[in-house]
C-alpha cells in the first residue's frame, strides 16, 4: 500500500512539472503584451518597454520559467499584478468558498443519485425508473446559468429565502454560511446529478445480474439486504470514481455559478486573471488546480482500493 502511494506521488510530481511547463509557455506565447494591457492606450512606447522590463518579461523564457519554478518550490507563487497581493493568500481566501460549494453540491448530488439510481435499477421500467431517467436528462440538459437565474429570481427576489449574492464565512455565522452557499450548491448539484444517477443505475443493474446475487437470493436473504449489502457494494466502484472526478472538477472553481452568485471563489479568480491578463496569478491558479485534481484523484483511488479488495491485491502484486 505504502509503496503504491509513493509511486503515485512520484508520478504526480512528474505530471505537475509537465503541467507547469505547458502552462508557463502557453501563457508566454498568447498574443498581447501584459505591459501594454496595464498601461492602456495613453502610455508611451518607452513606458510600456520599461514596465515590461520591470515585470521581468524581457528575460529569455527559460530564465523566467526557472525563476518561477524555484519560487514555486518555496511555495511562493509571486504577487498578483492587479491586487498587489501574494497569489497564495488570494488562493487561500478563495478555497473555503469553492470547497464549501463543491462539498455541498456533491453531497446533494450523491444522495439524490444513490437514492434514485438504486430505486430505478431495482424497479427497472417502473414509474420510478422513468422518473429517474427524466431527472438524468433534465439535470444534464438544463444550463446552470439559467437555473441559477431562475433560483435568484424565485428564491431570492420573490420568496426572499436566500441571499442573492456574496459569501458568508462559516466563522461569522453558520446559518448565514449555509444560506449563502445553498442556492449555488443546489445549482451545481443539479448539473452533476444526471451523470452520476446514470452511472449508479447502470452499475447497479450490472451488479444485480451477477451470479452471486442469485446465490444470495437462493440463500433466502431479505431482498433489500441483498440490494444494499451485496449489490451496492459491488456497484460502487464506478460511481465513486465519477464522484471523485466531479468533485475535482468543482473544486477547481466553477466560473458560471460563482459569477452569477457573486461568490469570491477560485473560478472567479481564474476569470479575473484571464480577463485582466494577470499572468502571475493565472500561473499560480493553474498549479493550484492541477495539484488539487491530482490529490483528489489519488484519494479516490485509495478509497476504491479499500472498497474493492480485488484491486487492492492487484496493486499489491499479489
Amino acid at each position: 500500500m505504502l509503496k503504491y502511494v509513493l509511486n503515485r506521488v512520484k508520478s504526480s510530481l512528474v505530471i505537475l512539472l509537465v503541467v507547469s511547463m505547458i502552462t508557463f509557455f502557453v501563457l508566454m506565447i498568447i498574443p498581447g503584451n501584459p505591459a501594454q494591457l496595464i498601461l492602456g492606450t495613453d502610455a508611451t512606447a518607452e513606458a510600456i518597454e520599461d514596465l515590461r522590463i520591470a515585470m521581468g518579461l524581457d528575460r529569455p523564457y527559460y530564465q523566467q520559467y526557472l525563476g518561477w519554478l524555484l519560487d514555486l518550490l518555496k511555495f511562493d507563487l509571486g504577487t498578483s499584478y492587479i491586487y498587489g497581493e501574494a497569489v497564495t493568500s488570494l488562493i487561500i481566501r478563495a478555497i473555503p468558498v469553492t470547497f464549501s460549494i463543491a462539498v455541498f453540491a456533491m453531497l446533494i448530488a450523491t444522495i439524490t443519485a444513490l437514492f434514485f439510481g438504486i430505486l430505478s435499477a431495482v424497479k427497472k421500467d417502473s414509474i420510478i425508473d422513468y422518473f429517474s431517467r427524466s431527472i438524468m436528462q433534465l439535470g444534464t440538459a438544463i444550463p446552470s446559468f439559467w437555473i441559477g437565474m431562475v433560483f435568484i429570481v424565485y428564491f431570492g427576489l420573490r420568496l426572499k429565502w436566500f441571499p442573492i449574492s456574496g459569501f458568508v464565512p462559516i466563522s461569522s455565522s453558520f446559518a448565514g454560511f449555509l444560506k449563502s452557499i445553498a442556492l449555488p450548491a443546489i445549482v451545481l448539484a443539479i448539473g452533476e446529478t444526471g451523470t452520476l444517477l446514470r452511472i449508479v443505475r447502470s452499475s447497479m443493474l450490472d451488479s444485480l445480474k451477477q451470479d452471486y446475487m442469485d446465490a444470495a437470493r437462493i440463500k433466502g436473504l431479505n431482498k433489500w439486504k441483498i440490494y444494499m449489502k451485496y449489490a451496492l457494494r459491488g456497484a460502487l466502484i464506478a460511481p465513486v470514481t465519477i464522484i471523485g472526478m466531479q468533485f475535482a472538477k468543482l473544486a477547481g472553481g466553477t466560473v458560471v455559478v460563482e459569477t452569477i452568485f457573486a461568490l469570491p471563489g477560485i473560478g472567479r479568480l481564474v476569470l479575473t486573471a484571464v480577463e485582466r491578463r494577470d499572468i502571475v496569478l493565472l500561473q499560480g491558479l493553474v498549479m493550484f488546480i492541477t495539484t488539487t485534481v491530482i490529490f483528489i484523484t489519488l484519494m479516490v483511488d485509495l478509497l476504491i482500493m479499500t472498497i474493492n479488495p480485488r484491486i487492492k491485491s492487484v496493486e499489491r502484486g499479489e
Partner: protein
Amino acid sequence: MKKFKTILVLAVVLMILSVTACANQENTPNETADIKTNLVMGYTTEPEGLDPHRTAAASTFTVTNNIYDTLVGVAPDWELIPRLAKDWTLSEDGMEITFDLRDDVSFHNGRKMTAKDVEYSFNRLKDAESPRARDYANIIKIEVLNDNTIKFITETLDVELLKNFAYPWAAVVPEEAQADLKTKPVGTGAFTLKEWVPQQHLTLQRNENYYSDKAKLETVKLVLIPDATSMMASFQLGDLDIVPLTGDQVTMVENKSEYKVISEPMNAVQIMSLNTKNPILANEKVRQAMAMAINKDEVIDASMFGYGDKIGSHLPPTSPDYFDTNDVIEYNPEKAKELLKEAGYENGFDVRLSLPKNYQLHVDAGQVIADQLSKIGINAKIEIIEWGTWLSDVYGAKNFDMTVVGHTGRLDAYAFLSRYKSTSNDYISLTTGEVDELLERALQELDGDKRKEIYKDIQVILAEKLPAIYLQTPRTMLALQKNVDGMQIFPLDYYDFKEVYFTE
C-alpha cells in the same frame, strides 16, 4: 456500511433542517430608525490597485478619487473648481501656472501636506513607470516657492494646461507611503480605505480630519457583483443603494416610486476606426459611402437600448467645444451605393472588422454595422478579439482594417483630437496632415471663442474626411433607491461620494 448509512441520513436531515431553519428566519433590518449613513453600491470591475500614478484603469480612479485629492476639481457642468489649490494664476505668456495651496490639509497618516508633496507627486506622475508621463512631458520645471505656493513651468504654450491638474491621476500622494499605495493608499481625500477584500468588496471610511466639509456618509461599501442580472436583483431587494445601470435594465426601474434613475452622456465617443493604410479604405469616397450606409440610431438601439446620442465627429455633445456635425453626412444607403460605384467598388469588397471581446457595447455595435454594410455590398468579416490582442495588434501594430472602440475621459478638446495629428503615430492619425496646423493653433490660442472656432473647423474636417466613422456618445446611468440623494455624474469617469446622503 450501516454506520455509513446512519451518518449519511443524519447529515441530510441536519442539512435540510438547518437550511429551512435559516430560511424561516425573518430578515432583520440592518439599520436603526436613524437616518442611514452607510451606503452600499454594486460594482462590476475591481480597481487595478489603488496607486493613481501607476495604472491607466478607469476602475481604479472610480475609487481613488475619493481617497486622494487633486489641485483642481471639476464640477458636473465641466467647470474647474478649487480643491487642494485655493486659487491659481497664469502668467501673461501662459507658460507658467502658480497654485496657491490650502494650508489646512493633512494626509491620512496625519502629516501636513505642503507644496513639496505636490512637487514630489508630479515628478512621480512624470517618471518612466507612469502611464500618463506623456501627458505631463510639457511641464519642464516645478518650483516650490514656499510651503503653500508652487509654480509649474511649461516648455511650450498649452492653453489647456490647467485641466491637466483636475484628472484623478494627478493626485497628491505622500512620499513616505509611496511604495505601498497600490494596496495601502494614503491621500488627503474625504474618505480613507477601510478594507479591500479582493473579489468581494472595498469599503471606504469617512476621513474625520478632512480639511473641508466632511463627507455625510460614514462608510461606502462597494460590493463586487460581476453579473448584471444578479446586481439588479440585489438592488430590487434593497441590498444595494446604488447600481450602475445597463440600457436593457432601465425599464425595470424607470417610473417606479421606490427608485430614481440618473443619467448623463458619458464624456466619451464610440467610433469605428478605419485604417487608411488599407488601399480600399484610403479612398475617401468609400469611407463616405460607409458612413452613409450606417444607421446610427439602429446602432444605438442595439448597443445601448437607445440610451446614447448620435455624433458626427470626435467630441461628445457635452464638451464645451462640441459642434454638431451630424448633418455633414446623412444616412442614405441609396446614395452610398452610388458613391461606391463612383469609387470603383460597385460590387463591394471584403474587409475585416475587429471587435474587442470584453466590451459588449462595441461588439453589439459592430454586429449591427456589419449587417448594415452588407446592404451596400460590403462584406465586413467580424473578428472578435481579446482586449490584450486589440491593444497589441490594432492599437499598437496598427494591423487592422476597421474596429469599433471607445475613447474616453478628457476635459479638453485638444486631448480628444490630438490623436489626428499626422505625427501622433496614433492608430487613426490623419497622415495627410489636414488638421496639424489647426491643432497647433488651438493650443496657442488664448482667446476661448477663437479656440472654439478652431475646434469647430477640426470637427468638420473629421466629419468629412472620416478617418473614423463617429457613432455615438453612450450614456452613464445609475439607479438609486429613492432615499439616496446627492449622487452626481461627472465628466470624468469617477464617483464622488462626499455629497451623497440618505434622506430617510
